[in-house]
Amino acid sequence: MQSHESHAWLWWIPLLPLLGSAIAGALHLATLRARKSDPQTSAPGTLAPWIACAAMAGAFVLSVRGFLALRELEPAARALASTVHHWITIGNPQSPLFEVDLGLLLDPLSSTMTLVVTGVGLLIHIYASGYMKGDAGYAKFFAYLNLFVFAMLMLVLSSSLLGVFIGWEGVGLCSFLLIGFWYEKGWPAEAAQKAFVMNRIGDACFLIGSFLLVRLFGTLDMADVVQKIGSAQSFTSEQSLQMSLAALFLFGGCCGKSAQFPLFTWLPDAMAGPTPVSALIHAATMVTSGIYLIVRLNPLFAASGWVLYVIACVGALTALIGGSTALVQRDIKKVLAYSTVSQLGYMFLALGTGAWAAALFHVVTHAFFKALLFLGAGSVIHGMHEEQDMHKMGGLRKHMPQTFLTFVAGAAALSGLPLLSGFFSKDEILAHAFASGGLYYGLWAVGVITAALTAYYTWRMVALTFFGEERFDHHHVHPHESPIVMTAPLMVLAVLSIVGGALGLPAVLHAPHLLAEWLAPVTAPGNKILEAAHGSHHLSHAAEWILLGLGSAVALAFAHTGFHAYKNGTSQDEYFAGKRPSLAAYLGDAWTIDSGYAKVIVLPLRMLSFLIAVVIDQFAIDGLVNGAGSTARDIAEWSRKTVSGSLASYALWMGAGALVISALWMWS
C-alpha cells in the first residue's frame, strides 16, 4: 500500500467546473426569469461562457500544477492523493466490514487524462462560446458542459471504483443532457435516451464487475486491488475465474461507455447534440473512459488471460465496423462519429494486446485530432447554416480557409499520414498486435484494413466538403468563415495534432517514448504479469521499419484514392450505391446492427412489457384479485336468492338443521 500525502487542493480540479456549472445554471434560471418580462433577452446568460471558461482554465492550471508536482517525484512514488471522507461504510465505523472512500488520486495516468480533459475541454469551451451564441439555452449549455467536465474529472481522478462510477454515470448523464439539448426537435431527445440506456447496459456490467471485485478483494480502492493482484503469489482456479469474470464485466461497462461492439450504436445517434458536445464528449473524452479504466486496472486484465483476447477481438471488430460504415455516410458528423467508433476499436485492440501505453497514446492523439475535426465540422456546419449533408457542400475551402486548413491537418492526422500524431499512435498499436503473434496476426490484418478505410473515408470527407463544385443553394446559404473565438481553438488543436506524435515516438527512431515512460509506474504491474505469462515480445528493428513503411504506404495510397474519387463531386457515391445497393445499404446502416436490435431485442421486450401489463398483470393477477371480489358478490347474490321469504322454507331449513345436528352428534 502506497502512502499518499494528502493534497486537498486536488479537489479543486473537479470542483471548479462543478462550481462553474452551478453558477451557469443559476444564470440560466436568471435568464428564464428575465425572459418573463422580455422574451428575447439573453442577458444574464451571456456571462455563462466566461464563468465556464474560467472554471476550465482554473482546472487546467491545476492539472498542470499536478503534472509538474508529479514530475518532481521519483517515478515510483508519483502519486498524490486526497481522501475527503468515508463515503459508504458498512458495519461499525471503527472497524468497518466494507468501506468506500471518496478519494482523488493523481498519478501519471490520471494526470495525463486530466490534462487532456481540461486542456481539450478548455479549447472546446472557448469554441462553444462562439458556436452556441444566440441559443436560447446558452447558459444552460455551459452549465451542462462544465458539469460534464466535473464528472469526467471525477472519473479519471477517483481512487475507488465507485468514485469512478460517479463520474462514469455522471458523464453518461451529461451526455444525455447534451445530446438532448435541442429536445424540442424530438429526435435528439430520442437519441439522448438511447445513449443513456445503452450506457446503462454497460454500467450494469460495470456494477457486476465491481461486485466481483468486492467479493475477491473486499475493497473497491483501485490501488488496493492492483496491489493485491500484484502481490499475490497465485490464484485458485475459482479466483481466476472470478477475476476473469470481473474483468469481462468491467470491459462490458467499457463497451457501453466507449461505444464498442455490441453497444456502439448510440454514438452515431449522439451526433444530435451540438457539435462542441460531439467534439468534447463523443470524441475526445468520455468515450475514452473505457480505455482509461482498463489501463487503470491493467493487472486485473493482464491476469485474466482470455479476456484480453475478447477485448482485442471486440476492438478489431468495432474498428472494422466503424471504418466501413464511415465510408458511405453523407452526414459529415456521422462520418466522424463512425470514425470515432473505429478509432476506439483501435484503442481496445491495443489494450487487448497488453499495449496499455499505446492505447493511451492513441487516446491522446485522437483527442487532439478528432476534437479538431469535430470542431472543424462544426465550423463548417455553422458556416453552412446547420447543413450537415456533405453532398450539399463542396468547394468550401475558398469560403472558410482557416477551417479548411486546420481540418486538413486533422484529417491528415486521423488518416495516419506519416509523421503526424495519428501515424505514430496507430503504428504503435499495429506493431504491438503484430508482435503478439498467433491470433493477433489476424487482428493486425484487420487493423491494417481499417487504417486503409480510415484514410479513404477521411479524404473522401475532405474532398466532398472543401473541394469540387459548390453544391449548396446559393440563394439560401452563404458560407462564411467562423469568428476567431471558434477558429483559434482549431488552430491550437491543429498544431497539437501535427506535433502530438512526439509524445510516443517508436523505438526505431531511438527517441524516448515519453508517454510510455511517464505511464510506466501505472502499467508496470500489468506488464509484469503479462511477461510472466507470455514472455516479452519485441519486434526486430527491421520488422518495425517494414511495418512503419507499410503503414505509411497504406495511408498515403488510400488517402489519395479517397481524395481523388470525390475531388470532383459525389458521383462515386452514386456509382457505388447503384452498383452494390445492398452492400451500400448494409454499410450505411452500420451493418444493420442497430435496426437489428430494434427488431430482435427492443421489440420483443416491448411486447413482453405489454404482455405483462395486459395479460399477466391485468388479466391474470388482477383478474384473480377482482375475481375473488366478484366471486364473493356472486355467492352473495346466490345466497340472497335462496332466502325465499316463505315461512315454510325457513322451517324446512330449521328442521333439516336440527336433524343434521342430532344425527351428527348422535353418531359422533
Partner: protein, 516 residues
C-alpha cells in the same frame, strides 16, 4: 415521553382541526401545517440526538401497562403501551416526520373541498404511521398497523379520481386480508410465549422450531408482502396510487409502503431469524423478479401516475431483495432504499400532481414539449428521475448499489436479475420524461401552462436537499442505523451458521486474495 409526544402530537392537531368551524379552511390548513412542522422538528431533533458518541444507543422508550389478556395456560399476558426506538425505526420516523409537512403543503393546490376532514385524516394517519414504527409491543403494533389503514381509505375515497371507490375498497380489503392473518399469527405467538413484548420475543422466538417459525413467517410475510407490495400481491397499488390525490400518493409511497418493508425487517427477519434464513432465497427471488416485472409493467403504462406507481413495485423489489440477502450490505441498502424511495417517488408524485393540477390529464400522449413552457418543472422532474434511477451522487444510488452488492454475496443470480432493473428503470422513466417534457410543444393545451410557483418549489426543496445529502453523505444516516442492523444481522448470521454448520463452513465473503 418524547416518543409519546411525537406520536400523539398529530392526533392533538387533528382534534384541534376538528374544533374549527368548517368554513375556516385557512385555519385548518394552518393548524395541520403547524402540527406537522412541530412533529418534523421533534423528529429531526430525535434523529440528530440519536446515537451520538457518548450517548446511550436507545435513550428513548416509553412503556405503561395497557391491558392484560387472560390466558388459561400461562400467566396473564400483560400488553403494554410501549414505544421504543432503534436505528431502524428512527429512520422511518424521521422520514415520516419530514415528509408530512411537505404533503400538507402540497394540498394547497389540489384539495379544495372538505379541507377540514382532509387535514384530520392526514394527521390521524401520521399518528398511525408513527405508532406503527415505534410500537415495541406486538399487539400495539397491530393496533397502529390497522388504524393507519382507515385514513388512507378516506383520503382516496373522498378526494380521489374517477375510479376512487374501486381503488380504495381494493386497497383496504386487500391489505386487511393480509393483516388479519397476521393477527392470527400474533395470537398464536402470544399464547406460545406468554408475552407480547417485542424485545422479549426477539430474544426468545429464535428458539422456536423452524417449522413453527415458518408458519409465523408466512403469516407476517403475507401481511407485509401485500403492503409493500411484493410481486403477486401488488395489483392494488397502481389503482390506489392512480386514484389517490397527490398528497395521498405521496404518503402512500413515502411512508405507508415502508410499513411493510419495516415489518419485514423487524418481524420476519429480526424476530424469526431461522425462518428468514430458510425463506430468504424465495423472498430474494420475489424481490428480484418484482424489480424486473415492475419495470416492464411501468414501461407499458400510458398514464404517468400509474407508471410511477408501477415503478414503486420495482423499487420496493430492491428493498425486499436487499433485506433478504441478509448480508450487512443488503440490510443497509434496503434501509436506505426505503428512505430513498420515499423521497424520490414522493417527489415524482408531487410533480405529477403539479402538472395534473394545471393540465388535468395524466396521459403521456397528452403532453410533449412541456419543458419548453415549464422549464423549472422540467428541471425538478429530471432531477427526480435521476434520483429515482439511481444516479451516483444522488440518494438512489447508494441504496441500490448496496442492495445489489449484498444480494450478490448471497445469490449472484438474483442480484443480476435485479440489476436489469437499473437498465429498465432508465428505460421507462426516460421514456416518460421524453414523452412529457421533450419534443415540440404542439398541443395547444400545453402551450399556456404556467411554470411551478414558489410554494411548489419550496415544498420540494427539503426533499431535493435530502436526496443530495443521502447521495453524498449516506454515512450520516447509516451510522445511525448501523448498531441496530448489526444486531439484526448477528442473529440472522447465527441462525445461518447453525443451519449450514453441518453442511459447510460459512466463508466470509470479504476475505480475499490478500489474506490468503
Amino acid at each position: 415521553m418524547e416518543l409519546v409526544l411525537l406520536t400523539f402530537l398529530p392526533l392533538v392537531g387533528a382534534l384541534l382541526v376538528l374544533c374549527t368551524p368548517r368554513a375556516s379552511e385557512g385555519l385548518q390548513r394552518g393548524i395541520a401545517l403547524a402540527t406537522t412542522l412541530a412533529v418534523a422538528v421533534l423528529g429531526v431533533k430525535l434523529f440528530m440526538g440519536y446515537g451520538v458518541p457518548g450517548g446511550d444507543a436507545t435513550p428513548y422508550s416509553f412503556s405503561v401497562p395497557w391491558f392484560s389478556l387472560p390466558s388459561a395456560y400461562a400467566a396473564p399476558t400483560a400488553v403494554h403501551f410501549s414505544l421504543g426506538m432503534d436505528g431502524v425505526s428512527l429512520l422511518m420516523v424521521a422520514l415520516t416526520a419530514v415528509l408530512m409537512p411537505v404533503v400538507i403543503l402540497s394540498t394547497w393546490g389540489h384539495v379544495e373541498k372538505r379541507v377540514k376532514e382532509f387535514m384530520v385524516w392526514m394527521l390521524v394517519m401520521q399518528t398511525g404511521m408513527l405508532g406503527t414504527f415505534l410500537a415495541t409491543d406486538l399487539v400495539l403494533f397491530y393496533f397502529f398497523w390497522e388504524v393507519s389503514l382507515i385514513p388512507l381509505y378516506f383520503l382516496v375515497g373522498i378526494w380521489g379520481g374517477e375510479r376512487r371507490l374501486y381503488a380504495t375498497i381494493k386497497f383496504f380489503l386487500y391489505t386487511l386480508a393480509g393483516s388479519l392473518l397476521m393477527m392470527i399469527a400474533i395470537i398464536a405467538i402470544l399464547f406460545d410465549r406468554g408475552t407480547s413484548d417485542l424485545s422479549a420475543l426477539i430474544a426468545q422466538l429464535g428458539d422456536a422450531s423452524t417449522e413453527k417459525q415458518l408458519w409465523y413467517f408466512a403469516a407476517f410475510a403475507l401481511a407485509f408482502g401485500i403492503k409493500v407490495p411484493i410481486l403477486p400481491f401488488h395489483t392494488w397499488l397502481p389503482d390506489a396510487h392512480t386514484q389517490a390525490p397527490t398528497s395521498g400518493s405521496v404518503v402512500l409511497a413515502g411512508v405507508l409502503l415502508k410499513m411493510g418493508t419495516y415489518g419485514l425487517l423487524r418481524f420476519c427477519i429480526q424476530m424469526l431469524p431461522d425462518a428468514a434464513v430458510v425463506a430468504a432465497p424465495w423472498m430474494m427471488a420475489l424481490g428480484a423478479i418484482g424489480i424486473l416485472y415492475g419495470a416492464l409493467l411501468a414501461w407499458a403504462q400510458t398514464d404517468v401516475k400509474r407508471l410511477i406507481a408501477c415503478s414503486s413495485v420495482s423499487h420496493l423489489g430492491y428493498v425486499v431483495l436487499g433485506l433478504f440477502a441478509l448480508t450487512p450490505a443488503g440490510l443497509n441498502g434496503g434501509m436506505l432504499q426505503m428512505v430513498n424511495h420515499g423521497i424520490s417517488t414522493g417527489l415524482l408524485f408531487l410533480l405529477v400532481g403539479m402538472i395534473y393540477e394545471r393540465r388535468h390529464s395524466r396521459a403521456l400522449d397528452a403532453f410533449g414539449g412541456v419543458a419548453t413552457v415549464m422549464p423549472v418543472f422540467a428541471m425538478f422532474w429530471v432531477f427526480t428521475v435521476l434520483s429515482s434511477v439511481g444516479l451516483p451522487g444522488l440518494n438512489g444510488f447508494v441504496g441500490e448499489y448496496l442492495i445489489l452488492l449484498g444480494a450478490f454475496e448471497a445469490s449472484p443470480l438474483w442480484s443480476v436479475i435485479g440489476l436489469t432493473g437499473v437498465i429498465f428503470g432508465a428505460v421507462y422513466l426516460l421514456m416518460a420524461t421524453r414523452k412529457m417534457l421533450f419534443g415540440a410543444c404542439t398541443n395547444p393545451e400545453n402551450q399556456h401552462l404556467s411554470d411551478i410557483n414558489a410554494r411548489e418549489i419550496g415544498l420540494m426543496i427539503p426533499l431535493v436537499v435530502l436526496a443530495v445529502w443521502l447521495g453524498v453523505r449516506p454515512n450520516d444516516f447509516m451510522h445511525k442505523i448501523e448498531p441496530s442492523l448489526a444486531t439484526i444481522h448477528r442473529s440472522v448470521a447465527d441462525a445461518k451458521q447453525a443451519r449450514t454448520a453441518a453442511v459447510e463452513p460459512l466463508a466470509p465473503v470479504t476475505e480475499g486474495v490478500a489474506t490468503r
